[in-house]
Amino acid sequence: MTMKTPMLWAPLLLLACAACGPRATVQTPSGFAELEDQQEYVYRAATADGVALSVRAEKNQPHGNLDFWALALDGQLRRVGYAPEGPAAEVHTQSGLSGRETRYTRVENGRKYRFWLAVFVTERRVWVVEAGGDEERVKGAVPAGIQKAIESLTVG
């Protein structure tokens, strides 16, 4: 091996590490289109009339369990004006993840919005599924499609 060998492998290692970042897939609901080149979200899709679905992956720091993160997220949303429609519900994905789902409403400028939040916790990551839009548009087949997408979440 010559001295040049490590210099050649370094970029390849960096590329390999980048490819090892958090990945999540969901079944994009009917009527939604997946948006590419997202930075904050690992997945994001939206309907043409403004209902969005996203998955974000954050580091599990401080390290907490599902109760911790579910309460942290709920407290944050309540603090800024989100009102829960009911108690949080357990949700299970087809891939075997267990999480907690809460549905909220929020009124802004006289318009009522619906916002769904599901949180899943793994050893290293906190996976947060967000979905919502104007109340008039989160109806019909949209809610069922979102729920199906949540349950189809796979992380890696």
Binding site: E40, A72, G75
Partner: protein, 313 residues
């Protein structure tokens, strides 16, 4: 100044006498409102309460409410005779004049008694008109009942109803019972406001008395003159003057009756309002838990704001 034209040439002595009386009459008429001089007119009689009445009845004891209305008007000289002016016959300015002066008024023509009364009176007691206002709050549905109670109380004290509206009533009660009435009224509800005012009309009354005395003396002299008048023109002239004097006397008597009536019966106005309901507020004794702001930056990015901003990647 009025000028009299008398016929001349007949009965010079009678004419001279007539002229003298008329001249003195004119002089009296001009100075009717002025206090009489010592030589020209009889001394003014004292206010009615002093002149004819005995000591006024003792005022009722004050209630225990801590509020002390003024002393009963009778203590200050308001007329409190045994027969106060009856409500129905309380002769105001428009009321029918009663026949003859009331029992509480000294007879001005009885100069001797008036002079004696003046001489024995230690001081001129004021003639006061009392007016009281009271505002009370009662329970819902008790307004009309409370107004009825006010009227009943006034009547039980010898007073009468002076006026009534939906939420207020005016009654007149004998001034000697004013404090008593006020104390009772204060118990009808929660007192929100009370006030008592006294209007001193002594000077006005005294002036009227002086004018009345002078006019009566003038009338007496004119009647004497009439009896001695010879010719018809003289008789007519004196009769016209007598009529004028009589009209003035009646007017003054009416004013004096009005003042006496107002002083004898104090006006009490009672306003009744519904006590506002006390709304029991449900006070949360346990405050909501304090929201902890976790030091996790991405939490603040959760929500619709960022989610629906599709151009924000």
């Amino acid at each position: 100044m009025r000028t009299l034209h008398l016929p001349s040439g007949r009965c010079p002595r009678a004419l001279a006498t007539l002229a003298f009386y008329l001249a003195s009459l004119l002089a009296t008429g001009c100075s009717a409102a002025m206090p009489p001089s010592a030589s020209a007119a009889p001394p003014s009689p004292p206010p009615p309460s002093m002149a004819a009445d005995g000591p006024p009845p003792a005022p009722a004891a004050a209630s225990g409410s801590g509020y002390a209305p003024p002393s009963a008007p009778s203590e200050r000289g308001a007329p409190t005779g045994p027969a106060p002016v009856a409500p129905g016959n309380a002769a105001g300015p428009r009321g029918a004049p009663s026949k003859g002066p009331p029992a509480t008024t000294p007879r001005p023509t009885d100069k001797a008694s008036a002079t004696a009364a003046s001489a024995t009176a230690p001081a001129v007691a004021p003639l006061l008109i009392y007016t009281g206002d009271l505002s009370v709050q009662v329970e819902d549905g008790e307004v009309a009942l409370t107004l009825d109670k006010v009227v009943e109380l006034a009547e039980s004290l010898g007073g009468y109803l002076a006026g009534r509206k939906d939420t207020s009533v005016q009654v007149r009660v004998p001034s000697a019972r004013f404090r008593d009435a006020f104390s009772h009224l204060e118990k009808l509800g929660e007192v929100m406001h009370r006030s008592v005012t006294a209007d001193d009309v002594s000077e006005q009354y005294s002036d009227l008395e002086v004018r009345l005395t002078n006019l009566r003396a003038t009338r007496q002299r004119l009647q004497e003159l009439l009896a001695r008048a010879g010719g018809i023109p003289d008789v007519l002239q004196v009769e016209r003057e007598l009529e004028r004097v009589a009209a003035e006397i009646e007017q003054i008597e009416g004013k004096m009756r009005f003042l006496r009536s107002r002083a004898a019966f104090s006006l009490l106005t009672v306003n009744v309002a519904v006590r506002p309901r006390t709304v029991a507020k449900v006070v949360e004794t346990t405050p909501p838990p304090v929201q902890v702001d976790l030091p996790i930056d991405w939490l603040s990015r959760i929500g619709l704001g960022r989610l629906l901003n599709l151009r924000d990647r």
